[in-house]
């Protein structure tokens, strides 16, 4: 089918019509990075998401990421107000948002400055800009616009001024409502996208809207397409190999939501918090159809307490949150650990501390997830590295939580949450659903915490099972669940709960190394940075650098064999979206240097001198940023 599409691209009715009139050539390219930026509320994200979906449907590798202003309603035409989306798509799999954009559609010139500050563009980046500001009735706007055009040209951008709104006015009365679809049409022409797929996408996106709205959006889509075909000498082609496996495309939060259903979970208990909430928005819409319910609790403490109650009663439960919510849940996480209640906790990390950067990416909850509870609280912490893994890791988390009778924390982040990527359609395995609750009589002689000496495991009675009655308590308790302050019992309980971690560890295998098994430099990462790290490492290797990388999925218990692997490299460093003191910062010495979280953790774990590349710009890691450091490290 996809092969058919690429044939279609060459078919005269789609691309060549424009080509004939303008006589322009179609440029084959491996990949492209496109941005649409606007003031908030102008629909740039919707257009970009549709563009990404259409590209995925045409067999391209795709990664889309939203550009989100910090405020809900920033003033119009403000530099800080850049709202929009980046779509990176290519012939092969795309694993991250990449570096500078190749082409940008901008609804005004001021928002572009915000992106320029973030080094989103390079010399030669094509900028398609709404030019209505040139004739603005406000003289200051005219001036601002003129100045920007001058500056953009100085920066070396390839600026094309386009009367987008005027074009839309030919078809609709209020172009502010549909300009984004006109832009989508324009992009479809530039990148030779299948217009029928774009039409189908619009029908899907606006499925809850009136027929009139859908029709008007389709009209604008086609108008934009036709206009660009006639008037722009830009035409690129990104071909993809035909794919034999069927795929799905979604963002990481939708993948988590679907994973929740695939895990057979029946209760999702939450309190709204960015960037985690959209997991539950998605679930609220569909969860009931798979036998689950979302509970919006009065706060995060209640949300986890509710989930623990449900789980205690035999119903598998998940609570979904982000940093500040995690902080509130700590006491209950301790209880779930102490009383051995299975529970899945999804933390879609954002920038911290405190309210921090609500919409931005950071990996700063790593150490608090592992160590953040008072007392000794062995907790399983794992982290998906791709959107696909967001789906599968919920199932894994649920299984671990049930099998080992403990809370499992799954750390994702804002980058995975909003990134959209196609992946192999998961096969549904009936065994991955939680089994129905056991209500058969309990064997009286089995105590509720009859810890196996070797594994720390014990069987859990579920309310409703006759003869299984016990009183769960967060106080130190013996195997009968009786409150016990005797010194040896607390030691025993902690020991048994800790032993479960060793038992999980035994099931893990050492991580695979990307690149050679030994060399000058090993880069270690975790979570959403996988794609960027591997892209940078692979480029450095092509340049002759002796560098490899490995990516951790299990952080607690940590994956085995690290010390051995580390020893085979001259230097080990982490790449993470975290804070760390720079070596030559004022006052900083090797003794007082506060290292980024993963490097700190790995040093302690492996007694290896682990360096780091860390930033907290609120941006995903870019391959180019990593490559720059690799070149320095490797003398390339």
């Amino acid at each position: 089918m996809l092969k058919g599409n690429s044939d279609e691209l060459a078919a005269p009715e789609n691309v060549s019509s424009g080509e004939e009139k303008t006589g322009i050539k179609v440029m084959p390219v491996e990949e492209c990075i496109v941005e649409i930026v606007s003031d908030a509320g102008e629909g740039a994200q919707k257009a970009g998401q549709s563009f990404g979906s259409v590209s995925a449907k045409m067999g391209n590798g795709v990664w889309t990421v939203e550009i989100i202003p910090a405020e809900v309603q920033p003033p119009a035409r403000s530099r800080a107000g850049a709202s929009g989306i980046r779509i990176r798509f290519g012939s092969d799999k795309v694993t991250n948002m990449g570096d500078e954009a190749d082409l940008v559609v901008a609804f005004n010139e001021q928002v572009l400055y915000g992106r320029i500050d973030q080094k989103a563009y390079r010399e030669g980046t094509i900028i398609l800009i709404e030019s209505k500001w040139k004739e603005s009735k406000v003289p200051e706007i005219q001036e601002e616009y003129a100045l920007a055009m001058q500056e953009f040209k100085q920066y070396g951008f390839d600026v094309r001024e386009i009367r987008m709104e005027e074009e839309c006015l030919k078809f609709v009365e209020n172009p502010s409502k549909g300009k984004n679809m006109w832009v989508l049409g324009m992009l479809c022409s530039i990148y030779a996208r299948d217009i029928e797929k774009a039409e189908a996408q619009i029908r899907h996106t606006f499925r809850r809207k009136s027929k009139k709205i859908i029709e008007s959006n389709l009209l604008l889509l086609n108008a934009g397409y036709n206009w660009a075909s006639k008037n722009l000498n830009l035409r690129f082609q990104i071909l993809s190999e035909a794919e034999s496996v069927s795929k799905v495309v979604m963002n990481g939060n939708e993948a988590v939501g679907m994973g929740v259903m695939a895990a057979g979970i029946e209760v999702c208990s939450m309190y709204p918090i960015t960037p985690a909430t959209s997991v539950t928005h998605y679930l609220s819409e569909v969860f009931e159809k798979s036998g689950g319910l979302v509970h919006q609790a009065e706060d995060e403490i209640a949300a986890i307490g509710f989930a623990i109650g449900a789980s205690y009663a035999g119903k598998t439960a998940v609570t979904v949150t982000s940093g500040p919510g995690m902080a509130l849940k700590t006491e209950f996480i301790g209880l779930a650990t102490m009383a051995e209640v299975p529970l899945v906790i999804v933390n879609v990390q954002r920038g911290g501390p405190s309210t921090g950067l609500p919409t931005k990416v950071e990996q700063g909850d790593l150490l608090s997830a592992i160590f953040g509870q008072p007392g000794d609280t062995p907790t399983v912490v794992l982290a998906p590295a791709t959107i696909e893994e967001c789906y599968h890791f919920v199932i894994l988390s649920r299984q671990l939580a049930e099998a080992f009778r403990m809370p499992v924390i799954m750390l994702t982040d804002a980058n995975l949450a909003t990134g959209v990527q196609p992946f192999t359609r998961p096969e549904i395995n009936l065994d991955s659903f939680s089994p129905p609750i056991d209500q058969s009589p309990w064997k009286k002689e089995i105590r509720p915490y009859e810890w196996d000496e070797k594994t720390g495991l014990s069987q859990r009675p579920i309310p409703g099972q006759s003869d299984g009655m016990y009183v769960l308590t967060g106080l130190a308790h013996d195997e009968e669940s009786h409150v016990a302050y005797d010194s040896h019992i607390n030691q025993l309980g902690c020991n048994r709960r800790s032993r479960k971690m060793a038992a999980i560890f035994k099931t893990l295998s050492p991580p695979t190394v990307n690149g050679d098994e030994k060399g000058d430099l090993l880069v270690v990462g975790w979570g959403s940075t996988l794609g960027a790290i591997e892209e940078a490492v692979n480029k450095a290797r092509q340049m002759g650098g002796s560098v490899s990388s490995l990516h951790l999925r299990f952080l607690s218990p940590i994956e085995p064999g690290l010390e051995k692997i580390f020893k085979r490299f001259k230097k080990v460093m982490t790449v993470e979206i975290n804070y760390g003191d720079e070596e030559n910062d004022p006052l900083i010495t090797s003794e007082n240097r506060r290292r980024s979280q993963l490097s700190w953790f790995l040093r302690a774990h492996t007694l290896t001198d682990v360096d780091f590349l860390a930033h907290i710009h609120g941006q995903p890691m870019r391959p180019g940023f990593i490559l720059q450091r690799l070149k320095k490290e490797l003398g390339l």
Binding site: H295, A302, G305, I428, P463, G464
Partner: protein, 317 residues
Amino acid sequence: MFGLQSECMLHVPEQYHTLSDYEGAQPRWCPSCGDHAVLTAVQKVCREKQLPPEKTVFVSGIGCSSRFPHYMRTYGFHGLHGRPFPVAEGIKFRRPDLDVFVATGDGDCCSIGAGHWIHAIRYNMNMTVMLLDNEIYGLTKMQTSPTSRKGTISNTHPHGSILPPINPLVTTLGVANVSFVAQTVDWNPAHVFSTLMAAHAHPGFSFVRILQRCPHFSPNLYSDEISNPDLTVLLTHENGIEAIPEVQKMYKNSVEHDPADINQARELAQREDLVPIGLFYCNPEQEQYDKYGASNIGFSPQQKSDALNVELDKYAV
């Protein structure tokens, strides 16, 4: 055992539960603590109703009173200070077959757990709630509680507490979707029993404030009310707490109060001259969140798989 007659009686319980079937660990409360009387009354309610111990769950927070579940022989959840309600709600949410009780203290419910308390009233899930109100923090050794009377001498206010207390009845009666509010006193076990019987029978969040003696830290707190029954006023009504002659004989003050009348309930709850006991408010028609929770349970793996497939189709490339 009733087993002998089982062929002619359809609803004979398989096993007749005696009081001792509901007795758990030996209570560790101070010998004359008011909690003992409540425990006994609760065990009697369980026996009277023949509640299957395996289907009954006692949930509590932290405090002297929150030790309650340990002294029952049912399922129990002795959780975190201030958080019994979210846990109880989670237990009940997808398990309508479980009978949930909550034992909480005045610090547990009205201070650290106050947010959950307000929302638990509003969720109105079917559970029986006992607020064991001794107007003090017992477990942590005599600190001021939000229900301590102004001027209470405590370890945190050695010169007397500064603020007027929260009245848990008034607060509960002020929350949207409130459905059952009653008050009783630990020193009248017969009244505790009949109040809890009514609370348990009510479909929804049955809130019972129990004035509870803490002789250890406030030996004189309720001594006037105990020695002089005229300081108590009994709420009576055909829809109220079942009239027990021995209780009625005790109190000369009584008010005929229709528990459907929330305005009068609020007025009565605010009385400071006398201690009203009985049913203030009852409305079995209020919205119940547990009904929503029970709405789609018991999906088979196949059903779950079908639903998931539909979702994956929507996102298929």
